[in-house]
Symmetry: C2
Subunit: 196 residues, 2 copies
């Protein structure tokens, strides 16, 4: 039970498996991959894979999960005084792990992962949406909290923005693409909050 102090081997096999996964998604697409293929590329036994991960979905989830963990750490350290800052950090993170996201969101990617990512972005929206900058007016809720139609749209738009951004060689800085996305999002928020 008690996790031993030694985790170099664990970290190493996980690193090798992650790198192998990204390479192989780029080459053959996520859905086509088998566990054997990943472990062979990683120079790791199949048994070692199952000791570390449940399946290939688990592998991706944990890569993404830890990346998001790092993202939140980076943001909480630097402060959230200016909420759109979280999105700048978000795009910076995307840029840093470009290979991963191109692989997972691109043509050969995984629609399962797109769902996963949309859910995450919606969480982020819910967490940070109450900031004045995104509010249509102070006394009116931004959108009906019982309905996540609008957040869903925004999240989809964000993902599309990410893939476009990566596919076009990141023609904007994280700051610039964030500004454009926030502008778009707040427009949608304002428009739709007048519905009824």
């Amino acid at each position: 039970m008690s996790q031993p102090i030694n985790n170099l081997r664990l970290r190493r096999t996980q690193k090798l498996l992650r790198e192998a996964l990204i390479e192989l998604i780029e080459e053959r697409g996520f859905e086509a991959l088998t566990i054997s293929e990943i472990t062979q590329r990683a120079m790791v036994s199949r048994a070692a894979f199952y000791r570390n991960y449940h399946d290939k979905y688990d592998l991706v989830e944990r890569i993404f999960g830890e990346a998001m963990h790092d993202l939140f750490n980076a943001v909480s350290v630097e402060g959230t005084e200016h909420p759109p800052q979280i999105w700048v950090k978000f795009f910076e993170h995307i840029a840093e792990y470009e290979r991963l996201y191109r692989a997972l969101l691109g043509r050969r990617g995984s629609s399962w992962f797109v769902l996963k990512m949309r859910a995450f972005i919606m969480d982020l929206l819910n967490t940070y949406a109450q900031h004045p900058q995104w509010q249509a007016s102070p006394d009116r809720p931004l959108y009906p909290t019982t309905d996540d139609f609008v957040p869903n749209l925004i999240a989809t738009m964000m993902i599309e923005s990410i893939t476009w951004w990566l596919d076009h060689g990141r023609p904007y800085t994280p700051q610039e693409i964030t500004t454009r996305c926030v502008l778009l999002a707040s427009t949608i928020f304002k428009e739709t909050s007048t519905w009824r």
Copy 2:
């Protein structure tokens, strides 16, 4: 004693150590490296290094040795009917392992390795020099076999050609650079074989 069938772990640690070595030579130079540094980068224990290699020189020697082994295999398979072909293969090999040779022959490289490589090229010269293409005339030896002054010069020239070639982004194909080198070498051979 008896080498077990299992060598995945061995091959993996060796691969990781080699990659780490090349990276670190590029970053900090060969002579400055410590074993700990290499093993940390490779995510391998120091003990594992010593199980596989005697020291960092051994590590480099074996990378080079196996590369040369592959080189000879490639040549012997494709036939040596046209001897300068070995040099084309040689430059192709250099191009393939560009990072290694830039690292080892460049500014931050190892003068020890340059000696090693010169000796190897001289071997190659001795092995293939008797071909008519490089002979001044059929009835006269190419150079006095008791003296390796000229092979030494040629080998030095070859190494300089390699570093120049790599440093300038390989402006010639392996075939072209070989042609130029063979031309230079045979000129030197012809000139010096008239000495006495």
